[in-house]
């Protein structure tokens, strides 16, 4: 792997992570910025359809934020194990998805696993999604949720020997 390709792989890893942070906490416009103008989003977990173009993609994430994110707490998308192949300004990535959140209505902790299948394009210095398919494998729930951990009881005033 030459230096330029290694840098592309790092930049693409950064894009994949940035997407997660923006979906969890950013605006729909901030998520849509990560896609090319002519990009396609394929949210397979929600049915058999494609969302074409960055303005429709922004509308999709606006819908997602209103109809899903607003009803959950502590939403975290995590992308790992990204298999990235780069070739002359385009790339593909195949990543494992893990998402966790607390359902606002039931209070259950939810875990989602799945796969992201991406085609990417370099525009200027920036890598963007040309096509992103999101496939969910399974969802599990856990009723026993602790949203506030019990404090450890460390006393910062106690000094190194545990004495005041």
């Amino acid at each position: 792997m030459d230096t330029a390709r290694a840098q592309d792989v790092c930049d693409i890893e950064h894009l994949l992570t940035e997407y997660c942070h923006r979906v969890d906490r950013g605006s729909a416009a901030e998520v849509a910025e990560l896609f090319t103008e002519d990009a396609t989003l394929v949210p397979e977990f929600d049915g058999d359809y494609e969302v074409k173009g960055d303005s429709e993609i922004q509308r999709f994430f606006d819908h997602y934020h209103t109809h899903f994110r607003a009803n959950v707490r502590h939403l975290q998308h995590m992308t790992t194990t990204s298999r990235i192949q780069v070739s002359a300004g385009v790339a593909s990535a195949h990543s494992y998805l893990l998402a966790t959140f607390v359902d606002g209505e039931s209070g259950a902790a939810m875990t989602v696993t799945g796969t992201y299948i991406d085609a990417l394009k370099k525009e200027g210095q920036d890598w963007k999604f040309l096509r992103r398919a999101i496939r969910v494998h399974f969802v599990t729930s856990n009723i026993e949720v602790v949203e506030q951990l019990e404090p450890m009881g460390f006393d910062p005033e106690a000094g190194p020997e545990g004495k005041n």
């Binding site: 792997m1 230096t3 290694a6 840098q7 792989v9 790092c10 949210p43 977990f45 929600d46 049915g47 359809y49 969302v51 999709f60 819908h63 997602y64 109809h67 899903f68 790992t80 194990t81 990204s82 298999r83 990235i84 195949h94 494992y96 893990l98 939810m110 875990t111 989602v112 696993t113 796969t115 969910v136 494998h137 399974f138 969802v139 599990t140 729930s141 856990n142």
Partner: protein, 166 residues
């Protein structure tokens, strides 16, 4: 990018490749990442350490036969938090692993599973190609749940409603 960083970047991709093939590749694809004299030690299994690429390929073939696509699916080893030690032609690496998937129990019930664990590798550069010289896979614990359902987002319906309005 410093030479060590380039090696680590390349190895990270090879480690990822090896786990993707471990999860979903053919036995030959899964075994191709190992050096001819490699050692694979799946500590969670009672089959003991496997010696040589041939035996490793046979182990992957056995595993795929034992757990067919009807019995276990969506198998994914998530590689998280890789640590590297470069030693000339050799690189030691250690990864945290989170394995997930679904399985059908003998009574037909479908369960999801999550298995935290870790992997320790030694990679060797042979004629400029990195291969696994040894890999140890250890499981910390496993937990099982029932699959749950997710409410549809309804984006398609909202798009259709929007069209009808116009």
């Amino acid at each position: 990018m410093a030479p060590d960083s380039e090696i680590i970047c390349q190895l990270k991709q090879q480690i990822v490749d090896s786990w993707h093939d471990h999860d979903g590749g053919t036995p030959a694809e899964a075994a191709r990442h190992y050096a001819e004299e490699a050692r694979l030690n799946p500590v969670f299994d009672d089959s003991g350490a496997l010696e040589g690429e041939e035996q490793i390929r046979a182990w992957f073939a056995f595993q795929r036969q034992k757990f067919s696509a009807e019995d276990r699916w969506d198998f994914q080893h998530r590689v998280i938090g890789s640590q590297f030690q470069l030693q000339g032609q050799w690189v030691k690496s250690r990864q945290q692993l989170l394995t997930t998937g679904q399985k059908r129990q003998q009574d037909g019930r479908i369960r999801t599973f999550m298995v935290p664990g870790h992997g320790s590798d030694v990679w060797i550069s042979i004629d400029g190609v990195w291969k696994i010289l040894s890999r140890t896979i250890e499981v910390d614990f496993a937990f099982y749940r029932d699959p749950a359902s997710m409410n549809p987002l309804g984006f398609l319906k909202s798009s259709n409603d929007k069209k009808e309005e116009h």
